[in-house]
């Protein structure tokens, strides 16, 4: 493999990993703070992608779509938490698994009723619809770089949110000891609702960003969900930075797996997971 091809794969791996990170944040935070295992998280990614398809059809512009989509996703997440997930906090994991499994079926069918079961494409925004030539024959699409850039910015933003703001402080405290946070007079319900909604927004945003490069198809939430689970497990449940490292590891394992061992590519991710678990059964960054 020559250097240019290697560079392209490297950038692809980075972009894929960062996108997965966006999805995994919500999953790991919702578990770390509220103790909820949410199988329907992949559906938020799927809903985001379909939102990109439908709204871009109306507005003709992915940027505008994202600007409309983010508040919509936030409201949707907050409503869902208020109506359903808030009833799950005291239930055991098994019931959470089942309820959210039921939700997946509901979301998929609603999607099928609303927009049908066809595969759709979303055009790459015009201002990014170009490529950077790397050699005579190879070039790299700008839009993928934009995705990586946006994700990196969000990761930095999230770092500040969690480490430097009051909300972040409460989130960190909440993932450490829920009861104590409540005892200190912090409105835990509002915290839960906010965290859940942020998770939904990030997953939906990942779906909207990915729509132009991965196309929009039924069941797209399922595969992302499982990979995100792997990331959360490898990174250590509740750890945002663990999720970032794990997402990048998975992004590289998957992308380079497809290059070097194409017939085993689907397996690579799970092999990595198995190895990490042999080494550290509670993930890389699990706090004691």
């Amino acid at each position: 493999m020559d250097f240019t091809t290697f560079l392209i794969q490297l950038l692809n791996a980075l972009q894929y990993g960062l996108l997965l990170f966006l999805v995994a944040i919500g999953l790991t935070l919702v578990f770390g703070i509220m103790g909820i295992i949410n199988l329907a998280h992949g559906s938020f990614y799927m809903l985001g992608a379909y939102m990109a398809f439908v709204l871009t059809g109306m507005t003709g512009n992915l940027m505008l779509t994202i600007a409309i989509g983010i508040p919509l996703a936030f409201v949707f997440g907050a409503l869902l938490e208020a109506l359903l997930f808030s009833h799950l906090y005291k239930r055991d994991h098994l019931e959470q698994v089942l309820l959210t499994y039921g939700l997946i079926l509901i979301f998929e069918e609603l999607r099928s009723l609303a927009v049908g079961d066809d595969v759709h494409g979303v055009p790459v925004p015009e201002m990014f619809a170009m490529s950077i030539p790397l050699s005579d024959t190879l070039s790299y699409p700008v839009y993928r770089l934009v995705i990586s850039g946006v994700c990196l910015l969000l990761a930095v933003g999230l770092y500040f949110l969690i480490q430097r703001t009051r909300l972040g402080m409460v989130i960190r405290a909440g993932s450490h000891d829920r009861d104590m946070v409540q005892a200190l007079g912090i409105d835990i319900n509002r915290l839960y609702r906010t965290v859940f909604a942020i998770g939904v927004v990030l997953a939906a945003l990942a779906g909207m960003l990915a729509a132009p490069i991965s196309s929009v198809y039924p069941g797209m939430g399922g595969s992302v969900l499982i990979i995100s689970f792997v990331i959360v497990v490898i990174g250590g449940i509740g750890s945002v930075w663990g999720a970032l490292v794990a997402a990048l590891v998975i992004g590289f394992a998957d992308t380079f797996g497809k290059v070097f061992v194409p017939e085993m590519a689907g397996l690579m991710v799970y092999l990595v997971m198995a190895l990490v678990l042999l080494w550290r059964p509670e993930g890389i960054f699990r706090k004691g």
Binding site: L84, E95, V97, L98, L105, I106, I226, V233, Y270, A274
Partner: protein, 322 residues
């Protein structure tokens, strides 16, 4: 409830299942055969979820592996011998469960749920991405296994009726086997692990080995179900190993009420019954299924098995807080 009533009820259900194919059409006999196979599958998972406290979300892997074995161990242009290929398929599933169990049983709680899921996905991709079993299209079983033993053929799977009764017998066998297993000292240890694993360890039990044994047995029995599923439908696809299948069987166990073998059987009936009913109404039947799941979780903790007790409790308490 009174054990005599329960036993009578179970026998009555068994009798009606035995009488069913003589009254119903061949189509419905196949539907019920499918349910009975899924009941075996659900009971095998209940051994883990309900009795040992291990919430496996990847149980379809062992179901699917044995289903693939049913096809892959059969010769291309002839029927395989049932008495060879059935145990062999179950053995492969058992070995897979044993090896995966070595990994997953190192984890607990929510990690266990996610890791079992991830390993079953691994198995899914082995069959989905490689040409091993026809790739994503799946593979056909052209000849149902032949039951000839020592020159004598007691029954033939080409007769729906024979297949039906074989499956019914298997279901009863598995039920009896698991009931006896759970009454044995081994089974008591499993239930002890569910209640308090640390205490079992303090008592000197090597709980890991017990859990691994339970995981392997459950894998083998799921394999039995998967094998018969392949025989009944004549084809196998990677979907047999998908996490939707794992979710479905978990749902059957919950619907019936965890830790109750008869409940797992009832759960299989209700699940497939609802599936058939809803898919008759609309092609968007999963919407209704999803709704039922959400409602069951929210309003029916304990599943069907807890229902008689709850109804009785409701009347005894004068309807105050049933």
């Amino acid at each position: 409830m009174n054990p005599a009533i329960t036993a009578t009820f179970k026998l009555a259900v068994l009798a009606s299942l035995a009488a069913f194919p003589f009254y119903g059409s061949e189509f419905y006999a196949e539907v019920v055969a499918k349910i009975l196979i899924l009941a075996i599958f659900a009971m095998s998972l209940d051994l883990l979820v309900g009795f040992t406290g291990l919430v496996s979300f990847g149980h379809a892997a062992y179901f699917g592996i044995a289903a693939y074995m049913a096809v892959m161990l059969s010769p291309d242009f002839a029927a395989a011998n049932l008495w060879v290929v059935l145990p062999a398929s179950m053995l492969v599933s058992a070995i897979a469960a044993f090896v995966i169990g070595l990994f997953v049983l190192r984890t607990k709680g929510i990690y266990f749920i996610m890791v079992t899921l991830a390993f079953s996905q691994m198995a899914y991709y082995i069959f989905h991405d490689t040409k091993l079993g026809g790739g994503s299209d799946g593979i056909y079983l052209d000849f149902r296994p032949d039951a000839t033993i020592a020159g004598f053929t007691p029954f033939s799977f080409n007769e729906t009726l024979h297949l039906y009764f074989f499956v019914l017998a298997l279901m009863v066998l598995v039920y009896v086997f698991l009931t006896l297993l759970l009454r044995s000292p081994f089974g008591r240890v499993l239930v002890g692990i569910r209640s308090n694993e640390h205490r079992m360890q303090s008592l000197g039990y090597a709980t890991f080995r017990y859990k691994l044994a339970a995981f392997t047995i459950a894998g083998a029995l799921a394999g039995l179900a998967g094998f018969m599923y392949a025989v009944l439908f004549g084809f196998v696809t990677p979907e047999y190993l998908s996490w939707h299948k794992s979710g479905d069987v978990l749902l059957m166990v919950i619907l019936g009420g965890m830790g109750n073998l008869a409940g797992a059987v009832a759960g299989a009936f209700v699940f497939v019954g609802l599936q058939e009913l809803f898919s008759d109404w609309t092609k968007h039947w999963q919407l209704l299924m999803g709704g039922v799941i959400v409602l069951v979780v929210l309003f029916m903790p304990g599943g069907l098995a807890a229902l008689p007790g709850r109804v009785l409790g409701f009347f005894r308490k004068g309807g105050k807080n049933g």
